[in-house]
Symmetry: C2
Subunit: 361 residues, 2 copies
Amino acid sequence: MFRNFKTVPYVVFGRGCFNQLDNILSQKRENPESFMVFMVDDVFEDNRLRERIPAKPRDLLLWVNVDHEPKTEYVDRLTSRVREFSNRLPCGVIGIGGGSSMDLAKAVSLMLTNPGTSAEYQGWDLIQHPAVYHVGIPTLAGTGAEASRTTVLCGPDKKLGINSDYTPFDQIVLDPELLSGAPLDQRFYTGMDCYIHCVESLTGSYLNAFSRSYGEKALDLCTEVFIEGGPEKDDKLMVASYLGGMSIAYSQVGICHALSYGLSFVLGIHHGIGNCLTFDQLEEYYPEGVEEFRRMMEKHAIKLPWHLLSAAQEHEIEKMVDVASILDPLWENALGPDWKKIMTREKMRDLYACLLRQCQA
Amino acid sequence: MFRNFKTVPYVVFGRGCFNQLDNILSQKRENPESFMVFMVDDVFEDNRLRERIPAKPRDLLLWVNVDHEPKTEYVDRLTSRVREFSNRLPCGVIGIGGGSSMDLAKAVSLMLTNPGTSAEYQGWDLIQHPAVYHVGIPTLAGTGAEASRTTVLCGPDKKLGINSDYTPFDQIVLDPELLSGAPLDQRFYTGMDCYIHCVESLTGSYLNAFSRSYGEKALDLCTEVFIEGGPEKDDKLMVASYLGGMSIAYSQVGICHALSYGLSFVLGIHHGIGNCLTFDQLEEYYPEGVEEFRRMMEKHAIKLPWHLLSAAQEHEIEKMVDVASILDPLWENALGPDWKKIMTREKMRDLYACLLRQCQA
């Protein structure tokens, strides 16, 4: 059986297309009593973008904080705030920000129509009811959250996405102008999420011609943006992120993402940074990718923040291994069906120990 | 304003995925009285594929003939046959075949819910009501009909698509195994539809980073398939066709397609062949593309069927010019906003005259 891949059905792309959001939403506002929920990265609270958000007086605007990776408990709290605001469902949830903000919007749109707590739905195809109409608007590019069928959350005992056909956005608004304000290092780490997941999927065993085409083009665009430079960098990075997300249709990420999940869960390290720290240590598995990644770092004068690992205690490695080791599809994609013989807990422990030693170097 | 691009929301890709069709449709069969309409290229009437079509006893199977390009009058006749079959709407229309068969299925699914004749809807966004659920299954690759928001029809006075957000399929089933049976020349002409529309969109003025990425990848895949050869040719060609269709989101075709429409309308020449005959004469406008196209022809020992033009009468050139000249977006994309000063009716007449002279050469 091949996956019947659910795509985002409406995509608008272009410099300044954020200005069309009001018009797009107006077609979904059912009557004068209906309302929308805007979930916006609180980094924009004192930003010019704030004035451009087309919220109406009846709408709910939630500033979301993504200093930490999104937690299931935070999703549940935000969902409660929407329920307290009105006893009706909103006619839309709009996420504006990076991958974390978009994932929060996806998760809240699902939890408004599905009972219980979001942690109960971490996994594959556990969601029973369609989500509220939801829109994604990236202000950082690289995660692929705008195109994917998951919303990645840290739960009480694992970091795992809510994967379902109801998870993808109903509409995305891809405006490259929104990328221009991001700090350079954050832009780099997020862009590398795309680069790394393309390397992992293109070298993986799950690949087919569909996903390979998307992955190759996304990788080419990353290289253009981060090595060759040249015009339209933000446009290309935004497209790379979307194509990278699409490439996951028939592929999977690999060793870097699996280990990075453990770092995020235990130390709260952001996904993009966790990926970069991890990938830099995986020369044995992805020699060409790591070599090119280091050239990109050099070109952009990136110094990896190894100090973020200094808080880690030796005994926390066990928990990291717990989180990473349940991600079967990632390991199988990277190492084949016999991955458990190759990547023992012992070996994972070694990889984490090696990583943690870097902060002392 | 940027186009809010409607994509196909469900895509399944893989060798043998045609076998999943029954399962996919079963989720749309509402009750024991509901029925599906299969519209299948009649070339498969005596083919093994016939046995694999998952039609139930209550379903309607229509063998469609696409020896000629799809006509609005044929669409109306097929729609009537569905209405005569049942006074209920079908719960799905499934098109199996090349671009023409898929376009017929798209058109019938629209006309079942929209009053009047299909000719009334040739144009942009004239459709008022959502179509019946419709599924596209290509057995030839290159047209991009599986991904596009149009169904191209020859009407009483023009060849023009029914372009609307309701036109794209709700589901496509991309099984590269289905490509293997096509005659080699037909496979080539249809593949060139993708190659040519990529050349036209990549050299056009409408392009942005989104469409460029899709177009470049589709073009690369065409080159791999038709010049380099190598493994997975059918898989790559099927992906190229889909990506080529997606690339039209923010681009347009150009001179070749515009002139080819005139040939099809007046002489009934199939779109793929019409494109190839025309493109071969457009060295002045697409020098690199035409040069590579000729290398592809040489490699595949293709002799263009110039004799198809021998039926043309001198006076019919006026009608060809009529059909081509109303395609403003195509000309503007190719030649810029002042295209009417460059591409006068006189110049179009010359291009057609030059083309028709080839059949005497």
